[in-house]
């Protein structure tokens, strides 16, 4: 405010105060005349002007109740009221239910019941079984006396996906067993040029057990360490079954692949190494830093029979998978606007029986695995590369938006220089509710030249 204006304001305030003192009483009384039609006010009951206490006199009121709308307004709004009558009824019901719920402490009671679950060590959380798996629930088991060492998970979804997992952890040492049934994953064929018309489905049943050594290890209820290396060894059993969904099964659309894979059980000895370092930080989403991750998995042939579940029916393909990812970002302005870049790639080096590589083991893109604008499992081959640029900016205190684009594809050999024109593009926009410290989820849309996909998530957003 300029000095001149400040003086003006001061004069106005002083005038207001003086006016209040000099003529306030008269004005207040002058302000009270009731219209002729109004009920008479007993002047003896009206508080004297010097009385600052709340009035006890009958209040001024119009002769009859006033409507919030004039007649023409009500008429104009009538069609809208009629159309939204079902919504109004719904709102009425919701209002009464919430009043009941709040008066009877339904939410605190429910919370108390859930809070008591640690006694039994059972927690219900949303399942994370992947795209197109339906609505799922996971029961997490942490036996009270063993919760530092033993956890279990049972996940199931309305599309009949199922996963069972048990983990043992003792400092840097760990062991894990997992059984999974995926009845209707999508498959469009191999290579970057696979066609949308070749949509098929396959089921996969697998179990794996492995032992792990990690340093430094993650303590329970603590954040993951900023850097970690781990090595593991175990065995993995897998069998491809015919798809259980509405689409044709994969062996019908791809008879050659089907002939070598359907109902053929394979078992691999798995040895691997994984390492990462992560310097990302910031709020309400990570705003700066870098994460570099590398992983090597060697799937040896089942002929080694070490740690095998049982004798496999065929020789399994032997291959090594190299995976790498780099993610970085920077931000500007007070409520951070963040630009993120990420690059991920996978290369699979097949040493034995490449023709028998299971679809499930191939690198893939589409849906949650990258190129969100394409259907899950849209692209499959040995190698893949995908890059993403995203820009996250605030919309309001409790919302932010993520605008992103992705480029990538799958290849028989990623080192044979994929051409720019072979890259598939996907674009997306996500609305992300956020707290002061982290995003709470998102709802969004992604699109590509093949279609539009709606996505949402509760939690699990970076």
């Amino acid at each position: 405010m300029t000095p001149g204006r400040a003086v003006l304001v001061r004069i106005l305030i002083a005038t207001a105060c003086m006016a209040a003192g000099a003529s306030g009483m008269a004005r207040a009384q002058q302000a009270t005349p009731a219209p002729a039609a109004a009920p008479p006010v007993d002047s003896a009951r009206v508080s004297p002007a010097s009385d600052l206490a709340p009035s006890t006199a009958p209040p001024w009121n119009p002769p009859e109740p006033k409507s919030g709308k004039r007649l023409w307004e009500s008429l104009l709004e009538l069609p809208g009221h009629v159309v939204t009558l079902p919504l109004s009824a719904l709102g009425y019901g919701a209002r009464n239910y919430l009043l009941f719920a709040e008066a009877n402490a339904v939410v605190p009671r429910a919370k108390a019941i859930f809070a008591s679950s640690p006694r039994f060590g059972v927690y219900a959380i949303p399942a994370s079984l992947g795209d197109h798996t339906g609505t799922g629930v996971a029961l997490e088991l942490r036996p009270p006396r063993l919760r530092e060492f033993l956890t279990g998970e049972l996940s199931a979804s309305t599309q009949h996906y199922h996963r069972t997992r048990v983990e043992l952890a003792l400092g840097p040492l760990g062991a894990e067993y997992q059984y999974e049934w995926r009845p209707r994953d999508q498959f469009y064929g191999l290579g970057p040029g696979s066609s949308l018309d070749n949509l098929s489905e396959y089921a996969v049943q697998g179990q794996a057990i492995r032992a792990q050594l990690a340093f430094p290890w993650q303590r329970r209820k603590q954040k993951p360490p900023p850097a970690q290396v781990s090595a593991y060894v175990g065995t993995r059993q897998l069998v491809m079954r015919n798809g259980r969904g509405a689409e044709p099964s994969f062996e019908q659309v791809f008879p050659v692949i089907g002939a070598s894979q359907l109902n053929e059980q394979v078992e691999n000895l798995l040895t691997g190494f994984r390492g990462y370092f992560d310097t990302r930080g910031g709020k309400p989403h990570w705003t700066q830093g870098v994460r570099v991750e590398a992983q090597l998995d060697h799937f040896a042939s089942s002929s080694e029979k070490v740690l095998a579940f049982q004798d496999a029916s065929t020789d399994a393909p032997e291959f090594t998978r190299y995976s790498g990812a780099v993610t970085t970002g920077f931000s500007f302005m007070r409520d951070p606007r963040t630009i993120r870049l990420s690059l991920r790639g996978t290369h699979e080096d097949v040493a034995h029986r490449s023709e028998a590589m299971r679809i499930y083991d191939l690198s893939g893109l589409g849906g949650g695995r990258g190129l969100y604008g394409f259907e899950p499992g849209r692209f499959k081959d040995l190698d893949m590369v995908v890059g993403q640029v995203s820009y996250i900016f605030p919309l309001a205190e409790h919302f932010e938006m993520d605008v992103h684009t992705e480029l990538g594809n799958v290849y028989r050999d990623v080192f044979e220089a994929p051409t720019w024109s072979s890259l598939r593009q996907s674009y997306g926009v996500n609305l992300r509710p956020r707290s002061k410290v982290s995003p709470l989820g998102f709802v969004g849309v992604d699109w590509s030249n093949e279609g539009i996909r709606f996505r949402f998530s509760i939690g699990s957003v970076e």
């Binding site: 204006r5 207001a16 105060c17 009035s55 009121n61 919030g68 809208g80 009671r109």
Partner: protein
């Protein structure tokens, strides 16, 4: 004191039989969650699709307040509002004596039940004279913030003419509390269970203890009469024969926007109000109160206010659309704010305060109907809040840190000046757009 008691006795004896027999209106309640849902999602959508509102906007003919006279002043008497600052002479002493008789008397306080509503811990007590109070506490990270804001704001809202409870800062030792034998508390499963010393001890363990062993709290004297629940900022209490004007068209409620903007009362919503069925002055009637000012000024009750407070609603479609269209590259006003880093204050500033565009946490039906006349009515009250009134009110916050008192006083004076500059500087000309 004795004269007042005698007066009350006379009034009670003189109360005509019809008053005692009068039937109180039905108790009402507002669902916290539904209110947020309705005001944030349903009503904005309804307003967006309301053809009558389009016509009114297109023709520059907003609906003016219904309870004003030809001089554009609130018709009196009113059970909602009493002319004080801006309409009558008011000094600091009158303001400090206005809301009531102060805090609980020293001595043993009997804890009668736990506080079950709201987000801050608290409980109800009876002082040695039998007067009942509710005690509320501060979040440990922001000592003095919520209690200070509650007290300071209650004085200023009283000075502005509204009916408020008598709030004051008290300090007490845990030993001065006595749990009543019939005291109950609602447990986590929603059951009423006897309150124990252990419960009280646990509650106090979540509250900051002063170096001298005392606890600081805000004592709010329970309002006289029978509680009827909160009032809504739209519609009427239809079974109250004295409530004939839709609340959203009441000048006192529309003009309250200006006061709330000035004091940063972003939590101004139905659930923070209370109607009481009172017998006073020989009549039994409904008196309307504003309550719970723990989220005023820089306080967000459980934490300090965010920098965005007052600039946008929780769900603000306009702000979100603007940000989306500009990809967030246009900085928001609040991004220029400077945090005083005073825990007792929380966050409130004058630099980024926008006296024309201030918004509460979520839309309020009466505020949405406000016109320039309503705002100017409120601005006139704000303008009458002299420096001495503001300072006297802020001092009632009893902040240990003198910087907190100074900062809050300075910010309220500067915010007042901005309100006056924005709404009263060109008072003579009310443009068509502003009507």
């Amino acid at each position: 004191m004795s004269r007042r008691c005698a007066l009350v006795l006379v009034v009670l004896l003189a109360t005509p039989s019809w008053a005692a027999d009068a039937t109180p209106p039905k108790e009402t309640d507002i669902s916290y969650f539904y209110d947020i849902f309705e005001q944030s999602l349903v009503r904005p959508m309804t307003r967006l699709l309301d053809p009558a509102l389009w016509v009114r906007k297109a023709t520059g003919n907003p609906r003016q307040a219904m309870n004003v006279d030809e001089r554009d002043q609130v018709r009196l008497p009113s059970t909602w509002w009493q002319p004080r600052a801006g309409f009558r002479p008011l000094d600091a002493e009158q303001m400090l004596n206005g809301p009531g008789l102060g805090g609980p008397l020293p001595g043993r306080w009997t804890v009668t039940r736990a506080k079950t509503q709201g987000v801050t811990p608290g409980f109800f007590v009876k002082d040695p004279s039998g007067t009942r109070f509710i005690l509320k506490f501060d979040p440990p990270a922001c000592p003095e913030m919520a209690t200070g804001a509650d007290v300071v704001s209650s004085y200023l809202f009283w000075a502005a003419g509204y009916n408020v409870p008598s709030n004051s800062i008290v300090r007490f030792h845990a030993e001065s509390l006595l749990v009543a034998p019939d005291a109950v508390v609602i447990d986590k499963r929603g059951r009423k269970v006897p309150m124990t010393d252990e419960y009280l001890k646990q509650l106090l363990s979540r509250v900051r203890r002063e170096p001298d062993g005392t606890y600081r709290a805000m004592a709010s004297r329970l309002l006289a009469g029978k509680p009827l629940g909160p009032f809504e900022y739209d519609g009427r209490r239809k079974d109250d024969p004295e409530d004939l004007v839709p609340h959203q068209h009441r000048r006192e409620l529309r003009g309250l926007w200006t006061l709330c903007a000035w004091l940063g009362h972003a939590d101004s919503r139905g659930p923070n109000s209370l109607d009481m069925w009172v017998t006073d002055g020989g009549r039994t009637f409904v008196r309307h109160h504003l309550i719970d000012f723990g989220s005023c000024l820089g306080s967000g009750a459980v934490a300090k206010r965010s920098y965005q407070t007052g600039h946008e609603y929780f769900v603000d479609y306009g702000t979100m659309t603007r940000s989306a269209l500009t990809l967030g590259l246009v900085p928001a006003k609040w991004e220029a704010s400077v945090d005083p880093e005073l825990p007792a204050v929380g966050f409130i500033d004058s630099k980024t305060f926008d006296p024309k565009g201030w918004r509460p946490d979520y839309p309020n039906p009466a505020f949405d109907e406000r016109t320039a006349r309503d705002i100017r009515w409120g601005a006139r009250i704000v303008a009458a809040m002299s420096d001495s009134l503001i300072r006297a009110a802020v001092e009632q916050g009893r902040f240990d840190d003198p910087r907190a008192t100074e900062y809050l006083t300075k910010v309220l004076i500067e915010r007042r000046d901005k309100v006056v500059q924005a709404w009263l500087a060109g008072d003579a000309q009310v443009s068509e757009q502003e009507r």
